[in-house]
Amino acid sequence: MKVRIKFQKYGAMKFIGHLDVVRYFQKAFRRAGFDSVYTNGFSPRPVMSFAAPLGLGLTSDGEYLDAELVSSEEPKVMIDKLNAVLTEGFHVTSFHILKDREEHQKAVTAMALVSSADYRVSLKDGYDHVEILKSKEAFQKAFADFISKEKIVIDKKTKTSEKAVDIKPMITLTAFDEKEYRDKLSAKIQDNSQQAFDLPESTAEVYQNGIMVYLQLDTGSTVNLKPELVMEAFYQFQNLPYNKFSWQVHRLEIYTRDSDTGKLISLDHLER
């Protein structure tokens, strides 16, 4: 059976890269005594795949891994078993068994489903060297100017070339506080009932300066916009040198887009 696990990655664990997270969960499954399906060969590993790998330095409330198990207990029991063997900085918030697919339906990995993600980008304390970062108001005004442009063209580097891309259409939501974010989000998500917001406490780090922006960005294997790139474009627009260390990016959620309604569904609410 296939299961989907949602977890948080926070604190010092932001310094653990994606490949090490994969190895970490492979060992965690063994410690938790999960009845995994293993890969073949002389170095068998539990079968699992991750959605939209998180970059080094980022934290998240919405990480997903799909795994294949031979058998499973109640979701609550499975969550507790796994959390009991995780270290500080990793915490499982949901576990559900994916619906069996019809025979003609092809199995889709978590990665292939991803089309959008929400981020909260916060200014770390001690980086208010420029005028527009001295106060919340100044920042919000400057960022609003930036985001209201018709086009935001940046040089996007790929492995082979560098090309000018308009990232504006890939930014589908911006907000400056949680309330604004939730209001705007509820119009975009399929399951806009209260339950979509009934999330465990966020692990995002809170900074004294209070300067932050919420971003919803196209994410996935076809179109992918990283929040760092948006911030870099913002600095460029302001004619300021970009300091990559000054912002803490925190992922809130990952979504797929319903092909009929065009609305977003969090991976957690899919295939239940």
Binding site: K27, R31, G41, S43, P44, R45, G57
Partner: protein
């Protein structure tokens, strides 16, 4: 949430920040304010190597069993962080609490190989602890050295407050009790060290004076403190079968060199190879019980989630219940998708059968360590592996489907001649020929032989401690000679030849048998920028040569000199339980090409029997001591 010592900016600027954040699976968490003693255990090399070391895990476990002690860890910051820490004056910190080490009570440094000495100075300097022990005050931690290099601690004696000579299981509790009581009584650092010097196995260098003859050799080493004994006795844990094994080892986030459960099945070795220090200083051979190992294997796999388990010992094939253990591991864990690896197994029918079950034959290779190219020289070094063993073993393995062989040799062994070196090329070729004896249709592609040579470095407390080491020029000549000889072989295209760097080995030779006068050289080389000397990309021999020159030391005095039988060695103050008389007898046997039987066949009278256990008393071992003669 745990606070980190380094800022996000620093951590995101260095390679592999996970080296510095701690928080690993099975890390000990204690409130530093609720303990009496804060101990930081250090492996002076990069995290991935240090985390793979079993000894630290054992000590971490032992020390943390005490409620009054919090034992934490530190490893060498990599060169990128080293630079930042110096610029920003960030004090080196322990991984667990992320607190500066300078505020700890103890800093324990394990010395596993000589080339880590500059890293030791880096640890001290970055911790903001005075590098020289004599400059330390009541505020500084007591710096302890342990591990194999303490069998000649003299080149680094000035940097340590004391050395723990021997196995860590026996005396740490007594040391910590002594310290705690001393602190309570308001005793000074010196008074506490005097008390520690009175504990068996503890060596406080400041309490000894060394004088030298005009020719540079040691004239005497005498205690200058009534608490310091003339001889320091090596500590040995005789209750290994059940004693202290960490069943919840740490599991790093980044891949360590040993990314697996390591099961120490025995300590010490029955073989008595004359070049091998481990084979001497861990005597007597002591086995852990099968039942205990089974229990450990279960617990360790469960607590770590590792996908692989490996055996650790100097010679696994000599473990008396190896078959039972191996069958147990395969039956019990093979089905649970755990990979099993068996290093240091002798190649025979049993081990080939075992390996074909647990390895992918196409991907794995056979490993032999003949160490010398001719039977004559193998007799000199007492390596009981014959040409027949190697050729038979390879033949059987080839028939079972293997086609890759790795061979390890040493160059520069005492009495070595050109014939012995040529023997390396011939043996490599013979193995390849063995492969082509198999009918073509039964072969799996071409055979691949990888022949590696390292340079022999004579070590203290081995029969070769008197021997002259080759110069780097001699080594290079020998290396070229062998390369040419390999090119003459029929199967030269199947043989790949790898070699070690000669300069590095020469420096290792100086540290291995050096004395206290070397410490200033190490200090100067470190200050000139030497660090991570065991990493060839950072090793800078010119800086070292300059440091020797500046101190007026001809380093070949330590390497290229055959010692007289009467010479006092810098390490003679250590009583390892293995007598100098035995080592000298073995050196003479070596020169006469006489083989000495292993401990199970016959007692060679090395002195280890005085420890009262292990192989010396095991049934099946010959109780008769053979003190005057060895059998050929």
């Amino acid at each position: 949430m745990r606070k980190l010592a380094l800022s996000d900016e620093v951590l995101l600027s260095v390679e592999k920040p996970a080296r510095y954040i701690g928080g690993e699976v099975n890390m000990q968490v204690k409130n530093p304010n609720e303990v009496d003693i804060r101990f930081c255990m250090c492996f002076p090399d990069v995290y991935e190597i240090g985390m793979s070391h079993l000894g630290i895990q054992i000590l971490y476990d032992i020390l943390n069993r005490r409620n009054d002690t919090y034992c934490e860890r530190v490893y060498s910051p990599w060169v990128d962080l080293d630079k930042i820490m110096r610029e920003k004056k960030i004090p080196l910190f322990a991984l667990e609490s992320q607190d500066p080490i300078k505020n700890f009570d103890f800093l324990g440094i394990t010395l596993q190989y000589e080339m880590c000495y500059t890293n030791v100075l880096q640890i001290l300097e970055l911790s903001q602890i005075p590098i020289y022990a004599r400059d330390r005050t009541e505020e500084d931690p007591i710096v302890i050295g342990g591990g194999p290099c303490t069998y000649n601690p003299e080149p680094i004696a000035d940097f340590f407050d004391f050395f723990y000579i021997g196995e860590g299981e026996t005396s740490y509790n007594e040391i910590l009790d002594t310290y705690k009581e001393g602190k309570k009584q308001g005793r000074s650092r010196k008074e506490i060290l005097e008390q520690i010097a009175g504990i068996e196995g503890m060596y406080v260098p400041a309490f000894y004076d060394v004088s030298y003859h005009a020719d540079g050799t040691v004239a005497s080493m005498v205690s200058n403190n009534p608490n310091a004994p003339d001889k320091v006795k090596r500590q040995v844990e005789m209750n290994l079968s059940e004693a202290y094994y960490p069943t919840t080892p740490l599991v790093p986030y980044i891949k360590a060199t040993q990314d697996r459960v390591v099961l120490e099945i025995q300590r010490g070795c029955i073989r008595g190879c004359r070049f091998c220090q481990a084979g001497m200083i861990y005597r007597p051979n002591r086995e852990r019980s099968l039942e205990y190992l089974k229990k450990c294997a279960y617990e360790m796999l469960a607590s770590t989630g590792h996908e692989e388990i490996s055996l650790s010992s100097l010679s696994s094939s000599d473990y008396s219940q190896l078959q039972e253990l191996v069958c147990f591991l395969i039956n019990e864990f093979g089905s649970k998708k755990v990979n099993i690896s068996f290093p240091s197994l002798r190649i025979d029918a049993f081990s080939l059968d075992v390996m074909s079950k647990v390895q992918d034959i196409r991907k794995s290779s056979l490993t032999f360590a003949p160490e010398a190219g001719s039977q004559r020289l193998r007799n000199v070094i007492n390596k009981g592996l014959t040409e027949e063993d190697i050729l038979d073993g390879s033949g059987k393995a080839f028939q079972s489907g293997w086609n890759r062989v790795k061979l390890y040799f040493m160059m520069g062994l005492p009495t070595e001649k050109e014939d012995d070196i040529e023997g390396i090329a011939i043996l490599s070729d013979q193995i390849a020929r063995k492969y082509y004896e198999i009918p073509k249709e039964q072969r799996s592609g071409k055979v691949s032989i990888v022949t590696s040579t390292s340079f022999f470095v004579p070590k203290p407390f081995t029969p070769f401690q008197w021997a002259r080491m080759n110069t780097s020029e001699e080594y290079l000549t020998k290396q070229h000679y062998l390369r040419d000889k390999i090119r003459e072989q029929l199967n030269r295209k199947s043989i790949k030849y790898n070699w070690h760097e000669a300069d590095l080995s020469e420096l290792e030779g100086v540290f291995a048998r050096g004395d206290r006068r070397i410490s200033k050289v190490i200090y100067d080389a470190y200050k000139a920028g030497c660090l991570y000397d065991s990493w060839s990309e950072y090793f800078d021999f010119e800086k070292w040569q300059k440091a020797f020159k500046d101190n007026g030391i001809d380093y070949r005095f330590y390497t290229c000199r055959e010692r007289g039988e009467e010479e006092i060695f810098p390490w003679d103050f250590i009583d390892t339980g293995i007598t100098k008389k035995f080592l000298l007898r073995e050196y003479r046997n070596a020169k006469e090409e006489k083989v000495t039987l292993n401990c199970r066949q016959s007692c060679a009278g090395c002195g280890a029997k005085s420890f009262g256990g292990g192989i010396c008393y095991r049934s099946g071992a010959n109780p008769e001591e053979v003190t005057n003669e060895s059998t050929n």
